[in-house]
Amino acid sequence: MKITDASVRPYPAGDSSLARMAAEAAELGFDSIVAIGEGALPGRGPAVLRGAVIGAASHKEVIRQVREPAVRRADVVFVNAGDISFNRAVVSVKEVQVLRNIHTTRKNAFDHVAARSAAERGVAVDISMVPLIQYRGTKRQRALQRYEDILLLHRRYGFPLTISSGACSILEQRSVREIRGLCALFGMTGAEVSEALASVGRLIEPEQPVRVVG
């Protein structure tokens, strides 16, 4: 079971290099991180996976973008969540693995229909720590409400969850214990946090039936 931070944004998007973020992640208790954007992969330390984010306005645009070489090279493909019809459609795209930025959407943008589709196809929903750490006031309250709703759907339908720090800097990375504390704010149990942190490994190598060779 690999504990993975599902998204970090190293230099030049942020102020910390990928190698430094990987070193910090190892000290904070992570086995691997998913780096979004370009950057040389460090030779040692925790495993660094390549992530690609698709920000599209329509389902068709997502299908066009997943065919691009940069996205095909990625280990984990994220799509920014949108409105209700977009989310329902995008969870059925085969190449999409994680639906992210769910806290920026409207209240019912990810509903029970999308949740059922996500569970059937093994598409995860990302829980970002950014709104819990960086935001204050009503913005954070809204994010907590959205996360609680996602957790309710996760418990009912069983689609995977991922947890990401969304860090652009080592100052924004948090330890596994701190993430447990932050997730407890919206009712996530320790076991659920552990499962969510380990789910990136299951997304990139899904469980398949045993194949007899030879």
């Binding site: 230099y11 102020d15 910390s16 290099s17 190698a19 430094r20 070193a23 904070l28 040389a40 460090p42 819990l132 750490i133 960086q134 204050r136 006031g137 954070r140 800097s169 080592i170 100052l171 924004e172 948090r174 330890s175 214990r177 701190e178 504390g181 932050l182 407890a184 704010l185």
Partner: protein, 160 residues
């Protein structure tokens, strides 16, 4: 005034937190204000009032935060939401929780820059280089104010 007998005193817990970035000079009051702001915005006045958080020590890149026993998890969570001291970006990383400051002092490992500070140029900006153990390199932009730090490793600097 006669002191309260020990059994009637409030039980306390102490949280040791590391201050990031390394080498940041902060005063105790600045840390206290940031911790109180983070805790109050997360849990509200009532919960923070009962938790009684206070910064009792702040030196050498570490801070010790005191709170009532039973509220240490909430306060540690609030420490994770500290993003700045005043105008300067920073973070607090919880290292340990204990019932005595004496026990926490044993956990403090001073983080000092290694010798060999130099200069580096990245793009068009000049940076002062501070090297730390485990190949960590902090680059601080030269200037009077609003210097943007960069966090690299030795390998990153060699590549450039």
């Amino acid at each position: 005034m006669k002191p309260r007998p020990p059994v009637m005193r409030t039980k306390r817990r102490y949280i040791l937190a590391r201050i990031l970035p390394y080498g940041m000079v902060v005063d105790q009051k600045g840390v206290y204000l940031s911790v109180i702001e983070a805790a109050t915005s997360l849990f509200g006045d009532a919960a923070v009032g009962l938790a009684q958080p206070a910064v009792v020590f702040c030196d050498g890149g570490y801070a010790v935060v005191r709170c009532r026993r039973g509220t240490e998890k909430e306060i540690a969570t609030a420490l994770a939401t500290v993003t700045a001291f005043g105008d300067e970006r920073a973070a607090l990383r919880t290292v340990a929780v204990s019932g005595t400051i004496h026990a926490l002092r044993r956990r403090i490992k001073p983080i000092c820059p290694l010798s060999g500070a130099g200069e580096a140029k990245i793009g068009e900006n000049c940076f002062t280089v501070y090297r730390y153990p485990r190949q960590k390199v902090d680059l601080v932009e030269k200037g009077i104010k609003h210097q943007k730090p960069l966090f690299f490793t030795e390998a990153d600097l060699e590549e450039r």
